[in-house]
């Protein structure tokens, strides 16, 4: 490890905010009803919060999940910005797209309908790329087919049933629909890449040039013009008013949209799953709506499916950004829809999770906020190190007083353990982003006792063996080791179980403390097996110890019994 430290030029541990100074905000996400959130939505919530915090532009912000909580750590002061950015509930809405443009405010360059290769224009799409559809039954049942284009930009199609691939213009009514794919739409998660790709589409062009502005609120149009989705703050975390039009960015920052009032709220989603379409082998996402949502969804899809591109797209907006904006290929009654096109397993799962999350949006309760000034942090570090130093010295003194020569072995072993621990902390800091905190330091100090105990168990066993008078030191060292080893392993196992349980079940500082305890327990085993035992065995050959010099800790006076004392010894029966 020492070599690694040299190579990495890492000599100092990284400190957590309670020692370095900084702000820690602990959020406890709960559903609107106050229930505990599911694991998936927690993971998603972490991503949402991370996006929001990034939007604030605070350097060094770290967002991590800790049990059921989300912990945001920011070096330096920044409470107000962080708290402001994370205060709101992240919600999901379905909104009709009114206009689309490339990400930046600059007009022109990217055609809007980037994505996919299909001409979108109006009507019908031809199946391009991959998607094919497959016929299945009709309407509502979920499955429908259709694939979409591929590129990442996800052109996606939303359909309810699948039909044969006839290209049909969407326009006409809906029932049987064509599945084609037509859909070029930017957006979509994943893909960043391609926005530009195929400029083909005629449909829209410059930011707003050529776009049909009918029905667009001028204020929103103005907002749209200035919206720059390439910035860090793309509007994530903005709580959109469902009754107003909004301008929003795609989540990858490659496109921006003008969106109609919310047609369906995320809470009307009853479920979403990702899976592979059995016929096409493509990844798709199926969405189900509750009854009210189903009729709202049927209504909006019925209305917009006949609209020209891009107004036939229905955007899903989560936490202020568009996560997907598939083309609606047909009216979708029945509350079951599927989204297809250019998904990978990961992107389809992500989208399904986002939709599910939208069904049960989380509130973020600020459980605790701690802002440690740099001086307080430095004081705590100093105090922790001082306490550790004093503790170590006391243990060393006691070992030397009580065990004399053997005490040196204990001291050397403690020294080795200390060095190993320090190296582990430094390397974990540089390679695994481990931050040393006050609870860690305390855990390490407390563990000095555990490490020392292993030596004590071993030494006492040795003395027992010798006292029984049957063994020379060299034999005693080995016999005692066999017995002490088992005790040490069992006792360390108990400590390790304690550390594991605390680490996984506890919150905040307790977990850090447990981590330190577990780490030192492992180091203890290593040191005792690889250092202490061989060291003692080697010393046993040295006359100073073998002959029982007075200062060796193994002197005869100490080992012998007082004549009058008929002590009970362990009888060797059987």
């Amino acid at each position: 490890m020492g070599a690694t430290m040299l190579i990495q030029k890492a000599f100092v541990p990284k400190y957590a905010l309670d020692l370095a100074g900084g702000t820690t905000v602990t959020l406890s996400p709960v559903t609107q009803a106050g229930a505990a959130p599911s694991q998936e939505s927690l993971d998603l919530a972490v991503n949402i919060i991370r996006e929001r915090v990034n939007g604030t532009g605070l350097a060094d912000a770290d967002v991590a999940r800790s049990g059921n909580n989300i912990v945001i750590s920011v070096g330096g002061a920044g409470t107000d910005e962080v708290v402001k950015s994370v205060g709101t509930t992240a919600e999901l809405r379905f909104r009709q797209v009114l206009a689309v443009a490339a990400a930046t405010a600059t007009p022109g360059k990217l055609p809007t309908a980037p994505a996919t290769p299909v001409p979108s224009g109006s009507g019908s799409p031809a199946p391009t790329g991959k998607g094919s559809s497959k016929p299945t039954s009709s309407v509502k049942p979920s499955s429908t087919a259709n694939p979409a284009p591929s590129g990442t930009p996800a052109g996606r199609a939303l359909s309810s049933a699948l039909t044969a691939p006839t290209p049909s213009p969407s326009a006409s009514g809906g029932k049987a629909t064509p599945s084609g794919k037509a859909t070029p739409v930017p957006s979509s998660s994943a893909a960043s890449g391609q926005p530009s790709a195929q400029p083909t589409a005629p449909a829209t062009q410059d930011p707003l040039a050529g776009a049909d502005l009918t029905g667009v609120d001028p204020a929103v149009a103005a907002q749209f013009k200035t919206l720059d989705c390439t910035k860090k703050d793309r509007g994530q975390g903005v709580q959109d008013n469902p009754d107003k039009q909004i301008a929003a960015c795609s989540d990858d920052g490659t496109a921006k949209y003008v969106l109609e009032k919310a047609a369906v709220k995320g809470t009307e989603v009853s479920g979403a799953t990702s899976g592979v379409d059995s016929t096409t082998g493509e990844w798709i996402v199926s969405v189900n709506f509750k009854s009210k949502g189903a009729s709202q969804f049927a209504q909006v899809t019925g209305q917009i499916t006949t609209a020209p591109q891009p107004r036939n797209q229905l955007a899903m907006v989560l936490d202020g950004v568009v996560i997907s904006a598939p083309v609606i290929e047909e009216p979708i009654p029945g509350g079951q829809a599927r989204i297809s096109g250019s998904f990978t397993q990961k992107t389809s799962t992500d989208l399904a999770n986002q939709l599910k999350y939208g069904a049960l949006p989380l509130k973020f309760v600020q459980s605790s906020i701690e802002e440690v000034s740099s001086t307080l942090g430095a004081d705590q570090l100093k105090g922790g190190l001082l306490a550790g130093g004093i503790g170590l010295i006391l243990v060393v003194l006691y070992s030397l007083l009580y065990y004399r020569g053997l005490g040196l072995v204990a001291v050397a072993s403690l020294g080795v353990a200390t060095i190993l621990t320090y190296q582990a902390v430094v390397l974990l800091g540089h390679n695994a982003n481990f931050r040393l905190s006050l609870p860690h330091i305390i855990g390490l100090i407390v563990s000095i006792g555990i490490t020392a105990d292993s030596f004590i168990v071993y030494f006492e066993r040795m003395r027992d063996e010798m006292k029984e008078g049957r063994r020379s030191l060299r034999v005693a060292v080995e016999v005692a080791w066999v017995r002490a080893r088992r005790t040490i392993l069992i006792a360390d196992a108990v400590m390790f179980i304690a550390a594991l349980v605390l680490y996984f079940l506890a919150v905040g500082g307790v977990a850090g403390f447990a981590f330190a305890m577990g780490l030192t327990t492992l180091i203890d085993i290593m040191v005792v097996f690889l250092f202490t035992k061989p060291f003692v065995a080697a010393l046993a050959k040295v006359p100073f110890f073998a002959k029982g010099h007075k200062l060796s800790g193994l002197d005869a006076e100490r080992m012998s019994r007082e004549p009058s004392d008929v002590r009970t010894t362990v009888t060797q029966e059987g």
Partner: protein
């Protein structure tokens, strides 16, 4: 040489023979009394929960030279806060208030920073939601229960269930008494204190495990023709590990005492003090319980097993009527009759042949 000197020398050489097990009535009454007092404390007094459990806001800043507690309190009160507690924490003031909204906390931070001419970012602040402490507490309790189950399983595998039970009873004993001390003394219970409580678990068990390991080793040799009852053997084992137990406890307590000292003198209120105080108290109780509670309890459980009952009965009759208990001399002189023989009777399964000779003294 004085008596203390003798004991010291004996301890040093590891020559002790104290009848821990035989005095179980003494220990049980002592522990029982402590438990009753502790439970009464918990019920009557309750624990003095820190702001981390109740919710509230805490400000901490370096003491300006001229400030006094009253001064700081009135500054914060004038800023519109009602419940203000000002504590001295080493070189800093620690101001605890009711739970304030974020904007209010920032405002107070500014007030303090202006009044005492401290840079705003040097005023540390902490806001704890009222439910947060409850969560911390719940997690700790769940952790405790899972831990106990895991330990019972592990010790049952490594030793046997009676040892697991005895160890866990000793553990609960330690926790209750430590909590009782906190209740009666009014020490503040913070998350750091809970860290301490949880660590006590580890220590208490660790100690018990080492003792039990020795008991297991010694008692494994007890055959039906044994010269020792389980009680005697266990007591013997306990004395064997006594030095180790005391040494270990001392070595464990030394660093904790160091933290306690530093925490108290340099920091006043705070993590270091809270944690080390709990550890300090808990370790002392833990050392006592692994010697005087866990082992006697284990012995009570084991002596009911037919095998050991038979040994005890046989030895009792052999001893011309003296009761089993008397075979365990109390007092430090420790002339236990059992040991000296080196009889090599093999076979624990030899049946309770009463052929073995009286042990010599």
């Amino acid at each position: 040489m004085s008596r203390i000197g003798v004991i010291g020398r004996r301890l040093y050489r590891g020559e002790v023979d104290i009848d821990f097990v035989g005095r179980y009535r003494l220990w049980y009454s002592l522990s029982g009394l402590l438990l009753v007092i502790s439970l009464a404390g918990l019920l009557v007094q309750g624990l003095n929960l820190g702001v981390e459990f109740k919710g509230g806001s805490v400000f901490s800043f370096a003491k300006p030279p001229s400030s006094t507690i009253q001064d700081v309190r009135s500054t914060v009160e004038n800023a519109g806060v009602h419940q203000v507690i000002v504590q001295e924490a080493g070189p800093r003031w620690r101001v605890t208030t009711e739970s304030l909204p974020v904007s209010e906390v920032s405002r107070i931070q500014n007030v303090i920073s202006q009044k005492y001419d401290i840079a705003g970012n040097q005023v540390s602040k902490q806001i704890i939601g009222a439910t947060w402490g409850g969560e911390v507490l719940n997690k700790a309790i769940i952790g405790l229960i899972v831990f106990m189950i895991a330990i019972i399983l592990y010790l049952t595998l490594a030793f046997e269930w009676k040892m697991a039970l005895a160890a866990v009873v000793a553990l609960i004993h330690d926790l209750l008494i430590t909590a009782g001390i906190y209740a009666w003394s009014g020490f503040e219970v913070t998350p750091a204190t809970m860290l301490g409580f949880l660590t006590i678990l580890g220590y208490s068990l660790y100690d018990a495990v080492v003792v039990f390991d020795m008991i297991k080793e010694v008692t494994a040799k007890l055959g039906t023709t044994s010269k020792m009852t389980y009680t005697e053997a266990a007591n013997n084992a306990l004395n064997h590990t006594l030095i180790r137990s005391l040494n270990t406890s001392l070595v464990a307590i030394l660093p904790v005492a160091a933290i306690l000292f530093i925490g108290t003198t340099l920091f006043g209120a705070g993590t270091l003090k809270d944690l080390s105080l709990a550890l300090f108290v808990g370790m002392i109780v833990g050392t006592y319980s692994s010697l005087c509670v866990a082992t006697p309890l284990l012995v009570r459980l084991k002596e009911r097993e037919p095998k050991y009952l038979a040994i005890a009965k046989r030895l009792a009759t052999n001893k011309s009527g003296s009761a089993v208990k008397d075979a365990v001399p109390s007092g430090g002189k420790g002339k236990q009759p059992a040991a000296v023989t080196t009889s090599t009777s093999t076979g624990s399964s030899n049946g309770a042949v009463a052929t073995d000779k009286r042990k010599k003294r």
